[in-house]
């Protein structure tokens, strides 16, 4: 039976040139980084690309990994930067996720078999509204919400990853939830 190694131990091994250890980091964090990217970018394809870029960037810059930082914080920081870069690029090219969101919503969501078509449609509509509301948040607020809601990171982990004070993380999350609440209310009224 193999011994369970911590992220930091795996990180140290990867840092010393153990390629297998880096593979282990990818296996451990791939899903969470993908969730973060998906929450930030809102499109599966973009999220997949951003996740790949994140790990490639991490692999190339292994030397930049500071031993005192957590592997998770390091990876999240890279992932957030990747997502922000992709968003800027998409903005420049006028290829925002919002343009394709109707299509993406329909494609990515398949209703459970026991759910009635009417209920599935209602659920789809509701999630589309949430998605639009999150996409409309400024990047600084969106990243905090996604890190909290999609990845379930603690405030401290978010603060470490984004290099922010703890109180700033909390106030950003509060502001983001307030804006989401208002947007969801307005969008629901528009739909009705």
């Amino acid at each position: 039976m193999g011994t369970v190694t911590s992220d930091e131990q795996v990180g140290e091994r990867a840092l010393s040139g153990d390629a297998e250890a880096f593979g282990e980091i990818v296996r451990r964090w791939e899903r969470r980084i993908f969730a973060l990217a998906y929450g930030m970018l809102g499109r599966e394809e973009d999220a997949r690309d951003a996740t790949q870029e994140t790990f490639l960037s991490a692999f190339r810059n292994l030397r930049g990994f500071r031993g005192e930082a957590k592997v998770s914080s390091w990876l999240h920081r890279i992932a957030v930067n990747q997502c922000i870069t992709r968003q800027r690029r998409a903005k420049v090219r006028s290829e925002t996720a919002l343009e394709d969101e109707q299509e993406a919503d329909g494609a990515s969501y398949s209703a459970p078999a026991m759910e009635s078509p009417a209920r599935a449609a209602e659920s789809r509509e509701r999630t589309a509204i949430v998605r639009r509301a999150i996409n409309a948040l400024p990047a600084e607020l969106r990243q905090v919400v996604v890190m909290k809601e999609f990845e379930e990171l603690t405030f401290q982990e978010i603060a470490d990853a984004l290099d922010l004070p703890l109180s700033t993380v909390k106030s950003r999350l509060y502001t983001a939830l307030r804006q989401l609440q208002m947007r969801l209310k307005n969008m629901a009224h528009e739909v009705a």
Partner: protein, 255 residues
């Protein structure tokens, strides 16, 4: 945008200053003591109570989207591929970018303020470079040789010229160029400056003609002139002229 966030927080603090406690409680990150304290607080604080319920609904909606979105996506990015092999392949097949492409990408991806700052710095740099080049071009390379202790033959010539001009009755007083008192050598490549000097009368046409000659010739003439006027302190001794040349020595039989 930042002002808007600050405004939201300010307004919230005016109602109740415990927004951060509310967030910690909402996400179950408050300690037991803090949680108990906040529960007591919301019993008597209606805004916090209302907001807690509203934020709970928001979280539920976001959670529903997350479940639907991530639940339907089966495969992660690498699909259990060997990441190091993948990375190597990426490195190998990664096309090399040109400098122009790199600059273009920098301008595409950078925020507006950074682009503006870079453009401004580039403009300032170009302007400074232009000014510097113009400044160095305009500086005339003037060699002034003046021997105060010795009678200056040019001065004598000038006096003679002035005297002869004085003899002409209607000739106005000569606008004396300041330069002819001295030997002036202007660099050949500085035509603009030389033209200006001619227009201003600070350099004579004879001197200008001298400057238009090829450099070697100009230098030879200048040297000869200096020697003639006994300006050069060190000249070849006259007995050197009497020394036999190498050709003469070669013709002579060995003794």
């Amino acid at each position: 945008m930042k002002e808007m966030w600050d405004k939201i927080m300010r307004e919230r603090k005016e109602i109740c200053a415990r927004a951060e406690d509310l967030i910690a409680y909402l996400y179950s990150e408050a300690s037991e003591t803090e949680a108990r304290d906040f529960e007591k607080h919301i019993e008597r604080c209606a805004p916090c109570r209302t907001e807690l319920a509203a934020f709970g609904d928001v979280r539920e909606a976001v959670g529903e989207w997350r479940e639907q979105a991530l639940g339907s996506i089966a495969s992660p990015a690498f699909e259990n591929k060997d990441v190091t092999a993948f990375a190597s392949a990426q490195e190998i097949y990664k096309p090399k970018r040109s400098a122009l492409a790199a600059i273009r990408e920098f301008f595409t991806l950078s925020p507006l303020w950074m682009r503006a700052a870079t453009a401004a710095i580039a403009l300032i740099f170009c302007a400074l470079a232009f000014i510097a080049i113009a400044h160095f071009k305009e500086q005339p390379k003037v060699v002034v040789i003046n021997e105060p202790n010795k009678a200056n033959p040019v001065q004598e010539n000038r006096n003679a010229t002035v005297a002869s001009k004085d003899e002409q009755p209607n000739t106005p007083a000569i606008k004396e160029p300041t330069v002819p008192q001295q030997k002036v050598f202007v660099a050949n490549n500085d035509k603009a400056q030389t033209t200006r000097q001619v227009k201003n009368g600070t350099i004579s046409h004879q001197q200008l003609a001298g400057t238009r000659k090829p450099a070697l010739r100009s230098n030879l003439n200048a040297s000869e002139e200096l020697v003639e006027n006994d300006y050069l302190p060190f000249t070849a001794p006259s007995h050197e002229e009497k020394l036999p040349s190498l050709a003469d020595l070669a013709d002579e039989p060995n003794q």
